[in-house]
């Protein structure tokens, strides 16, 4: 921290002013900024888009990410050799707070997966050649990477993956079936967790590969989720050849690579649900009738949840900035986030009453059904609430593991 001014890192206020100047010259201000009752009233947790819409939206997102990157406002905390600015990690949050006032595309999940989950894992586990080949294109989003992790028989027990990778000449042949992949239709790479050795204990026989999503043998099919839309896919890998140069990390150490990605996912999920919770609080301010005492308490309780969730995120940031390993605060974020999402649904249900159940065409009412139906997905995705609790209990609190069952 002391070295900040000496190394030419702008202070937070100075940085924000720079961001605003750049954004003003590059993007339009959000129309009718935050005006209640007008503009987009979508609060979808998972967007219901057709494949064509998904591609179009991804292209717009990508165009914006490239502009950012090329003009020095992407990859803020990355080293210069990857096009970054070497700024402290929390400057990305400062940037986003300013960007929220501008009319730029809302990032779909494939973007944080590529930039915040996969790229950092490549930085840790990749060979020099892989870093040179993948990092800049991924940070610039020329390449987008999806996660080929879960399988029908390997959900919470991810290390039970059965997708096989068998050596073949200069590479490997992959065969298996992955599920719950978001962004598979627009991704150029898939990070696949595969079994390379079925004869050793399950965590030891895993290797991770980056698979070209347009390689022969890769088939993507949408999964329709309970919202009615299809934000996820299943991916079939039918004898897909992957060169050994696309293997990430050593053979048999794929579980560690996987954990790197999962830890980043937990860290990245701490901000989930805040936008919609803020929107629900705006609803509490603008509802055209006085709130009852109970409703006020419920709204205030949601406010406290959002405040605490943001503060936990700031504590994680502060620890990282100070060069310390974050403690328990880094692991509790996702559970806070899913609880915030549920509390948001509950408040909106109370405030909207029948207008949540039947569409009257009013702005900002029936649109909340997208939140109501989407929120349960995040209690399951990225490690279910139950798995998060087990991780907290065993890894943070140090409680004894469950006795081993069959197949462990």
């Amino acid at each position: 921290m002391e070295g900040s001014t000496m190394s030419g890192i702008p202070g937070p206020e100075e940085f924000r002013a720079e961001v605003r100047r750049w954004l003003t010259g590059t993007a339009k201000a959000r129309a009718a900024r935050q005006e209640w009752g007008r503009g987009d009233d979508s609060v979808a947790v998972f967007e219901n888009r057709t494949e064509a819409e998904e591609r179009e939206h991804t292209d717009r997102n990508r165009e914006w990410e490239r502009t950012r990157y090329d003009q020095g406002w992407g990859a803020l905390d990355w080293p210069k050799e990857y096009g970054g600015r070497e700024l402290p990690a929390h400057y990305e949050q400062l940037y986003r707070a300013e960007e929220a006032a501008f009319d730029v595309p809302r990032r779909t999940e494939i973007f944080p997966v590529t930039q915040q989950l996969v790229a950092p894992a490549i930085r840790i586990w990749g060979t020099e050649e892989q870093k040179q080949r993948w990092l800049r294109p991924m940070l610039r989003t020329d390449e987008l990477a999806c996660q080929l992790f879960s399988e029908t028989e390997a959900g919470s027990d991810l290390a039970a993956v059965r997708t096989r990778a068998v050596p073949d000449g200069e590479g490997w042949v992959l065969r298996g079936h992955k599920v719950w992949t978001s962004g598979a239709q627009v991704a150029t790479w898939g990070v696949a967790v595969c079994r390379t050795d079925p004869d050793v204990p399950k965590h030891a026989g895993i290797t991770v590969f980056l698979v070209r999503m347009d390689a022969p043998g890769v088939t993507v099919r949408p999964i329709r989720q309970m919202t009615g839309g299809a934000s996820f896919n299943e991916v079939y890998l039918d004898d897909v050849f992957v060169p050994d140069t696309d293997r990430l990390g050593p053979v048999g150490e794929g579980w560690k690579v996987t954990l790197t990605v999962l830890a980043a996912e937990r860290l990245d999920s701490g901000g989930l649900g805040l936008d919609n919770a803020d929107r629900a609080l705006e609803l509490a301010r603008h509802l055209p009738r006085p709130l009852t005492g109970g409703e006020r308490q419920q709204a205030a309780d949601l406010f406290v949840r959002t405040l605490v969730q943001r503060l936990i995120g700031l504590r994680v940031t502060a620890a990282l900035v100070a060069g310390r390993e974050p403690g328990a605060e880094a692991s509790v974020g996702k559970l806070h986030a899913t609880a915030t999402m549920r509390a948001t649904t509950d408040l909106v249900q109370q405030l909207l009453g029948p207008r949540l159940a039947a569409d009257t065409g009013e702005w900002g009412t029936f649109a909340w059904t997208e939140h109501l139906l989407g929120a349960p997905g995040y209690r399951i995705a990225g490690g279910s609430d139950e798995i998060q609790r087990t991780i907290l209990a065993e890894r943070v609190l140090g409680l004894p593991k469950e006795p081993k069952g069959a197949g462990s």
Partner: protein, 389 residues
């Protein structure tokens, strides 16, 4: 409008604060364990004078947030919060909250230099104990100017540490409103009746003023502002204590469920137990964050303090309720015995909620502060007055 914009570094424990915490943890472990707490709380004074002096002399806890010109160390509330977290962790029965936070803050907030010069050095050195009356619960006390100066008449109830305090800071009615007075109580003009209390480690008293001499502190008209400021300081202080108490409960349960075996395995290996402790950890980390932010707001005199203080109250009383409930439950039968310290924490957690407002009181206050009232939503009954009764 409320804006969350703190420097993240303020939420992080500095090296100095960590050292302070370690020193205090050692001292309190050796001289304020569960048996000492019971003995001290049951003694006539209600706390251990020797420990009080060690905290004041060896560590300087009392003067941490008192300005240097009045004999303090001139640190910020953030340092004092560390001390309160540690004393809250062991349920130290010493009147720190009342003397060092409430009374000292009332004197400072009044900005009365003569009053500060007269009493703050005694508070900073540990020579003086003090408390406030008529702040947390409206008192029926009036002040009259007689031939020999001002005197107080009437009753103030639920005065924390009121029986033994050397100095009382009292909000009393004067003809044109309310005003703050300082009173050094004398049995000849002031009766102090100890109430039977839920939490023996934090006593309360009914005080009857019968023409007790008192001196005005600050100017007329200042009292409502002082009261608000003292209450928010108290809420932030209590939040720090609750983080300490909750963290103790979590630690104690972790130790117990790791050692205790049933059905041939440690009960902490059962998922039903694990997941409850994970939920408790989530709440405790949330409370820790809310408390750190509120402390930073109080230390930095931020405009967000009222929101931060009530948010911390919601978060920390909630965490403490859950922590103390689980403290008993996950200890099974032994946790329900008189001998086990768990009930002392249950008592503290619940009694403290009556001090500065329950979580629901604070939610209503927050709704008012943040405009979460619907369009044209005026106050509802009880809105915005967690201290009123």
């Amino acid at each position: 409008m409320f804006r969350l914009d703190p420097d993240p570094a303020l939420l992080l424990e500095s090296d100095e604060r960590r050292q302070l915490r370690e020193i205090l943890r050692r001292l309190l472990t050796e001289s304020c364990g569960p048996e000492e707490v019971r003995a001290q709380a049951g003694s006539p004074r209600g706390h251990d004078r020797a420990l009080w002096e060690r905290l004041a002399d060896e560590i300087g806890v009392h003067g941490l947030a008192v300005p240097e010109e009045y004999g303090g160390a001139g640190c910020t509330f953030a340092e004092l919060a560390v001390a309160l977290e540690e004393t809250g962790r062991v349920l130290c029965p010493a009147p720190l909250l009342t003397t060092v936070v409430l009374a000292a803050h009332a004197l400072s907030a009044a900005g009365d230099r003569a009053a500060c010069a007269r009493w703050l050095p005694g508070i900073a050195s540990g020579a003086l104990t003090a408390t406030v009356a008529g702040f947390l619960h409206r008192a029926d006390v009036t002040a009259e100017r007689g031939p020999g100066g001002w005197v107080l008449r009437g009753e103030a109830d639920f005065v924390p540490d009121g029986e033994g305090a050397d100095l009382l800071l009292v909000v009393a009615q004067v003809p044109d409103g309310e005003r703050l007075f300082a009173c050094e109580p004398d049995p000849a003009t002031c009766d102090r009746v100890a109430r039977s209390v839920l939490d023996p480690t934090r006593r309360q008293a009914l005080i009857r003023f019968r023409g007790a001499p008192a001196e005005p502190v600050g100017e007329p008209g200042q009292a409502p502002g002082i009261v608000d400021s003292v209450l928010d300081a108290g809420r932030v202080a209590l939040a720090a204590e609750h983080v300490g108490g909750s963290a103790h409960a979590l630690d104690a349960v972790l130790t117990y469920v790791s050692d205790r075996t049933q059905f041939g395995r440690a009960i902490g290996s059962f998922q039903a137990v694990k997941h409850r402790l994970a939920d408790l950890l989530v709440e405790v980390e949330g409370a820790r964050s809310a408390s750190a932010y509120a402390s930073a707001c109080l230390a930095g005199k931020a405009a967000e303090l009222p929101v931060a203080a009530s948010a911390a109250a919601v978060s920390c009383t909630g965490a403490y309720r859950l922590a103390t409930t689980e403290y008993v439950q996950l200890h099974g039968g032994i946790g329900f015995t008189w001998e086990h310290p768990a009930h002392l924490y249950v008592r503290r957690a619940r009694a403290d909620e009556a001090l500065f407002g329950t979580a629901d009181d604070h939610r209503l206050r927050l709704a008012g502060l943040l405009g979460l009232t619907g369009r044209d939503g005026g106050p509802v009954d009880g809105d915005g007055s967690p201290h009123g009764d």
